[in-house]
């Protein structure tokens, strides 16, 4: 099959950009998933502390065998709140790290689309929809990049919004955070990004 890129320098250049985009997407996906894995233990810890705080507020210490211990309720509550604070601080750091990944993906994809606009005269519909055994079509690849970018953008927003919904006095809300956090993970969407990377692997590796 005739290699169209031989006669189309814009196409060649654009393909290089797309390759870089997918390489960057792959490393970003790994980075994102690794940060998210670190969040799991933090979020679980948050739920545990919330559960302990709730139990403490339910129990009347003066009616228990621990009634002789001075200021026990206040001291324990202070420690638990301190523990929550510590975890929230760490979660904040993780969110910043996730934001960096999201920004990196958005920037890459956006510049790819910008470049496409620039080259649009040389990249007509026929060129864009052409695909080979080793390379998907440009239109497909752009769509996949857009899907990936949207996924990470939404994921970040949802997770950030979940953490921001917590209220200091609402313990049951705090207790529900681990479940709601895990529920945000979409196996199917993450797998489709992996699938995308698989589909473009020949393309990315080609010269």
């Amino acid at each position: 099959m005739l290699d169209v890129s031989m006669s189309n320098p814009a196409l060649l250049s654009f393909q290089q950009v797309l390759k870089k985009c997918f390489q960057s997407l792959e490393s970003n996906q790994n980075e994102w998933n690794s940060i998210l894995a670190e969040c799991t233990s933090l979020v679980t810890s948050l739920g545990n502390s919330a559960e302990q705080l709730r139990a403490l507020s339910t129990v009347e210490i003066s009616n228990t065998p621990l009634s002789t211990f001075p200021d026990l309720q206040e001291r324990l509550q202070f420690k638990l709140i301190q523990a929550v604070d510590l975890v929230l601080g760490k979660l904040n750091e993780k969110m910043s790290a996730l934001k960096l990944v999201r920004d990196s993906i958005s920037k890459q994809v956006w510049s790819a689309f910008q470049l496409y606009e620039q080259y649009s005269d040389s990249l007509d519909l026929a060129t864009c929809t052409q695909r080979s055994a080793t390379a998907p079509s440009i239109s497909d690849m752009l769509e996949w990049l857009q899907d990936a970018e949207r996924y990470y953008r939404q994921q970040f927003l949802r997770r950030k919004s979940l953490l921001q919904s917590m209220r200091p006095n609402d313990l049951s809300l705090l207790e529900s955070v681990p479940k709601r956090w895990e529920a945000l993970y979409s196996t199917s969407k993450d797998e489709s990004i992996s699938e995308t990377l698989f589909k473009v692997s020949f393309f990315v590796e080609s010269q």
Partner: protein, 210 residues
Amino acid sequence: MEVTHQGRKSAVTGSARKIKDNAADWHNLILKWDKLNDEGSAVANKIVNLGLIKQDSQREQHMVMEDLASASSLIIGRPPDHSRELEEECIKLVTIVDNMTRVVSKMAKLVSSERGVVELETFQYRAEGRPPPLFLTWTTAQFAELSSKLYEAFSIELSLKKAILQELAHTTNSDLCLVYLSCWLHQPYIDHDIKLLQEGLLLETGHRTL
């Protein structure tokens, strides 16, 4: 015996040696305590879980018995007995608390040893105390006071642990169980001040440098 004043790297003797060694002992004892606390926390968790399982199975057994009473059928097999496992875990916890008791009694010895150093100093220098401090800035009395504070905190924490040990295996209220576990893990009487005092002690005696 007097402390030589040839700079901090000189050999520390006498009272200063005692206090410096005590500081190291405090550090090691607290490390030991922390390790026992972590071990105890894991065992306490197991005890509570086994206790809850036992409660559930007893409830089930009770229901089965009620069914049997109303319908004359054959006896069904008994649910698995976790009592032995529960007993083993309780024994483990008792051992851990015993070890913690030993740690705290060693701490008591450090307190009385430092009180001894203060008394010796009072005897040597009357009420004014030693002119240059033994180390950087603290008076000898301050060391004794710090030891006292540390000992008090660990002492009351130990009583709390003993109280929890008594109650843990047979408390049926799950919220109260969780409060017991919380108390054990988070050590309400070992607060941030205690950690600061410990660090201060190490810095002052030169075990840690800034």
